[in-house]
Amino acid sequence: MIPQQFEYSAPKSLAEALALIADGGKPLSGGMSLIPMMKLRLAAPDRVVDLARIAELSYIREQAGSIHIGATTTHHEVESSAVIRAKCPLLAETASFIGDVQVRNLGTIGGSVAHADPSADYPAALQALEAKIVIKGAASERTVSADDFFVDTFTTALEPGEIVTEVIVPVEAASTGTSYQKLLQPASGFAIVGVAARIQKSGGKITLARVGVTGLSNRAFRAAATEQALTSGTAVQAAADVVAQAIDANSDLYASAEFRAHLAAVYAARAIDAAIRRTS
């Protein structure tokens, strides 16, 4: 549990950090994923660039119908932010499910999305929220959708030299009901499956359904078939039952592919039901 030797720098400005990262430095944010990997020597960066001291990366800002969240904002800050709780409750609820208090006090939203663990919680919510991820390099800046950002297991749209600087989520309409439901892998606390649902109703009908799923497969995704079923009036359980359709489910010590797919349907139904109850 001893990492290989590495150089460490803790720049104060984003420009400085991006220059170091362009030069091959590995970004370090909350360290909740990177440090354990380094200790197990599964990761052995020569140079580590700590983003924690860059003030311009830590913020939660409401702006023109969106909430902008700086990359180094901790899970705890998201969970407890008055703005996010009031205007994007799904994200706050999801943050509250991540790991334990210590992890939430250090782990960050930028680190979580960049790490792209297929069992991480945020990605389900970010998919359901149709969030945007702001990416910067020393000489570049672009914004991609969550769906384009999460490419594969531990793989994102980030190019070498780029970092996540911001996550943008919409301000939720007050009538929208949302819920995140998660089955914890009992050892790690990560999601065996996690389902984030957003529902809007009008005249007794579901007019908008967004369902993000994590833990089930190689990447978090939007369950299109379930969403369509819901908006075309299918009953909740039947809609949830197609959540794993055409998905190649993961398999591990805690859940085989078959059991995971089954659980995804159970948790999708729970999330959708809870979201419907919260609509107004």
């Binding site: 001893i2 030797q5 197990l40 009992p186 050892a187 790690s188 010590l253 805690y254 859940a255």
Partner: protein
């Protein structure tokens, strides 16, 4: 000399006193092995096999040895002349593999030590260890004990192609007759999976060689410092009195530190060779891979009974996964299971066959309960299965078969003599606590509403207070020295080696009451062979039940001497001693222990035939084990949609005899229950077909955590043992032993309407879900 009025000191025994140990633990100021810093200290890192089975073709240490800061690299060849890691278990025909400090030409499990690298700091040592190049020819491995026994399985040790380390047979009563007379026979395969003990503090040691004195000091995280000293001295060819072993603060053991490990000898050897203090600290990953595992049973049970529920006989075949080597007690553990097979029941006939199997895994050895949880789990499951077969209430069946109160001391079919008991009492108390009759009604109701609610129970016995010396490999006695200092303060040196059990507190309570001194005046020392006379250590729920009586008798001896000095000072030959005062019956005058101590050390004048000083040492040999017992009841509900188990209630009633400190006892029971539920619900060491440990870190191995625990309603019945003067029986393992069968019983009971009679541990959601699916749809999902 004053004549104070003698006030009766309030008794400390029986009080919920907070532990003396806790302030240093809570404030983080305790000194563990890794806290030690010695001038010139170097660090050792062990290079380990990544394969379950392989031939070592070559080891290239050149790159590692050339690294700046590296002081020494040793491989198997360098330690080929040193003695092997000892196996303390002796069984007829036991095959004992040569367990060298470093692998010679083959490796037998993932984690097997291949080389050791020593450097000026632990970072360099770790980097250099990575630079050691080992060329392996990977061989076929076998990790499953039943597969290892199959013909044609890869041989773990080429010289023993059947992978059989030993077989062991024990019989009692007339088993043929029992089965011939039976109205019903129930059979079940029951497993008790491999578990990873996982103390908070991993293993670690610091060895320091004093060349001029030819003496070695080893600080090591152990439960048995004196045994480590004796064994290490033998291994390294040192004089025993020139080896000092210190167990500083030890962060838990659960049996896994009841051993001498290769790394302790290796670290010592390197310290002697290099002339530098050497520190080795096990990483958590190494702890998973290389510290002994527990359990590892596959058992085949058969129980014969009469229609009315009378159990006649029990047959069992035990397959014990031993791993690749024997650690100190490994092969002896399943023989403890055999002793425990009759449980609390009167059945007079039994028959057990054990086969110890080599696998390409880390050795198994004593783990909280050591052999007894396996047996208790098996027998309690079988009693439930018999109850289901006979359509009897499981509590009723138990009550019918318990050894009766008037039958004690009760000789068992396995040759033990149960000391004392009132086996129905804890079960009745547990049933009252949950209001059993009402609860069964609620269950019937719940079932009508389609709910899977279960009420489970276990009634367990234990063999504790190891033990009479003939039954314990290194001696089963314990020792205590009680020293009253010239100032009157009292120092106790005990041979047990507490590492979380709280004997600094409980032994202070015993001393305070029996010697009649203030609780705060007592200091309990342990764990240092240079301070403590000699001792066996802490394991097998023995510390208070064997170390406590040793302390008690040392105090009695001391009181004789105290009274002699008291008589001299009071110029009377009719004195009594109580509450720290010697009192003359005639004059009513008294002297305090402080005055007596002063006189005994100043020694201006001595009583006849009496030497100065106030010290007594007592080595106490018990005449029998103690046999605590108890009953657990668990109520659970199963979610058929997810297979999740929700524990609604958990009641643990234990009878460990007299309670020295109920707070400490509750702590032991709670921790034990957590460990038992851990096995029942979550924990499992999983090796794949290549003998790679899949559950090799805490991200994959589910340790129970506080938030996963039910509220534990613990209570006691008190049946003091006649085996020792304190009437204490031991409680360290009880919770673990009682919990796993109660938990499985509850879940099986919940699923019993579907026709389920047994579930193997751990009862993971997927296992439960599939079981429900297969019973409700007939599919083998």
């Amino acid at each position: 000399m004053a004549t104070p009025s003698i006030t009766k000191l309030e008794p400390f025994i029986g009080k919920r006193i907070r532990r003396k140990e806790d302030p240093r633990l809570i404030t983080g100021t305790a000194t563990y092995v890794d806290d030690l810093q010695l001038p010139g200290m170097h660090f050792a890192v062990v290079v380990r096999s990544p394969h379950g089975a392989a031939r070592i073709k070559s080891v290239d240490i050149a790159a590692a040895a050339a690294m700046k800061g590296v002081a020494m690299v040793l491989t198997g060849r360098d330690v080929a002349d040193l003695a092997c890691v000892p196996c303390g278990a002796s069984l007829p025909g036991l095959r004992v593999p040569e367990h060298r400090l470093l692998a010679q030409d083959r490796v037998y499990y993932v984690g097997h030590p291949v080389a050791v690298v020593v450097a000026t700091d632990r970072y360099i040592a770790k980097d250099a260890a990575e630079a050691v190049e080992v060329d392996y020819e990977v061989l076929q491995a076998v990790a499953d004990p039943e597969k290892a026994l199959a013909p044609g399985a890869p041989a773990v040790h080429p010289q023993w192609p059947d992978n059989t380390a030993f077989t062991f047979h024990q019989e009692g009563g007339d088993i043929e007759k029992a089965f011939a007379e039976a109205d019903v026979v129930v059979k079940q395969r029951i497993t008790s999976q491999r578990l990873i003990p996982s103390p908070l503090e991993t293993r670690g040691c610091v060895a320091q060689w004093h060349a001029a004195e030819k003496s070695l000091t080893l600080h090591t995280s152990t439960q048995v410092p004196h045994l480590v000293r004796s064994l290490l001295a033998q291994m390294l060819g040192l004089d025993e009195n020139r080896v000092r072993v210190v167990a500083p603060e030890v962060g838990g053991g659960f049996g896994c530190k009841l051993n001498l490990y290769a790394e302790e000898a290796l670290t010592s050897h390197v310290a002697m060779k290099l002339g530098k203090p050497i520190k080795w600290i096990e990483s958590r990953r190494e702890n998973f891979l290389t510290t002994i595992h527990g359990r590892g049973h596959v058992d085949y049970y058969e129980v014969a009974a009469k229609k009315d529920g009378t159990i006649l006989g029990i047959k069992v075949k035990i397959i014990q996964d031993l791993g690749s080597y024997h650690q100190l007690l490994g092969p002896a553990i399943p023989t403890l299971s055999v002793l425990m097979i009759p449980g609390l029941y009167r059945a007079k006939s039994m028959c057990a066959d054990v086969v110890g199997v080599f696998t390409n895994c880390v050795p198994t050895d004593a783990y909280r309960g050591a052999g007894r949880p396996e047996a208790t789990h098996g027998i309690e499951r079988m009693v439930d299965i018999l109850a289901a077969e006979l359509k009897m209430d499981p509590a009723e069946l138990r009550l019918k078969n318990f050894v009766r109160n008037e039958e004690f001391p009760f000789p068992t079919a396995t040759g033990l003599i149960y000391d004392t008991g009132d086996y129905a009492a804890p079960l009745r108390k547990a049933m009252e606590t949950v209001n059993y009759t009402e609860l069964r009604k609620q269950q019937a109701d719940a079932r009508k509403h389609g709910k899977l609610m279960g009420i489970g129970m276990s009634t367990y016995g234990e063999i504790c207070a190891f033990g009479p010396s003939p039954a314990t490999p290194a001696g089963g006695w314990e020792s205590a020295t009680v020293k009253i200092e010239p100032s009157g303060k009292v120092t106790v040196m005990t041979g047990v080696s507490p590492h979380g059990q709280g004997e600094e507190t409980t032994f202070s309570q015993i001393t305070a009451d029996h010697l009649g001194v203030p609780f705060e005046d007592v200091l309990v020392q342990h764990g240092d062979t240079a301070i403590v006379q000699y001792g066996i250590g802490t394991f097998g729920s023995r510390a208070t039940a064997v170390g406590g009586p040793a302390l008690y008798y040392a105090i009695q001896e001391l009181i004789i001497k105290i009274k002699k000095f008291g008589a001299m000072l009071l110029e009377s030959d009719d004195v009594s001693y109580a509450n720290g005062q010697c009192t003359c019956a005639k004059t009513g005058k008294s002297v305090s222990i402080k005055e007596i101590a002063g006189a005994a050390y100043r020694a201006m004048k001595l009583p006849a035939n009496t030497e100065p000083g106030l010290v007594a040492t007592y080595f106490w040999e018990p005449t029998n084990f103690t046999f605590p017992f108890g009953a657990h009841i668990m109520v659970a509900e199963v979610d058929p949609g997810t297979g999740a188990i929700d524990i609604k209630r958990y009641v643990a009633i234990d009878d460990c005899g007299n309670l020295i400190n109920p707070l400490v006892v509750d702590g032991q029971v709670h921790g034990g229950v957590a460990q038992g539920l851990g096995q029942a619900l979550w924990e499992q060491a999983v090796y794949d077909d290549n003998a790679q440990l899949v559950s090799g870190e805490f991200m994959d191995y589910t340790m129970p955590r506080a938030h996963m625990m039910p509220w534990i309603e613990s209570g006691h019945t008190i049946t003091p043992t006649p085996v020792n003067p304190l009437g204490v029986k031991g409680v360290g393992e009880a919770g673990t032993i009682g919990a796993s069968p109660a938990a499985v019983s509850a879940v099986v009971d919940a699923l019993s309407p579907l026709g389920v009679r047994h579930i193997d541990m751990p009862m993971t959601p997927e296992k439960i879900w599939r079981l429900i699916l297969s019973k409700t749809t007939g599919s083998n999902a």
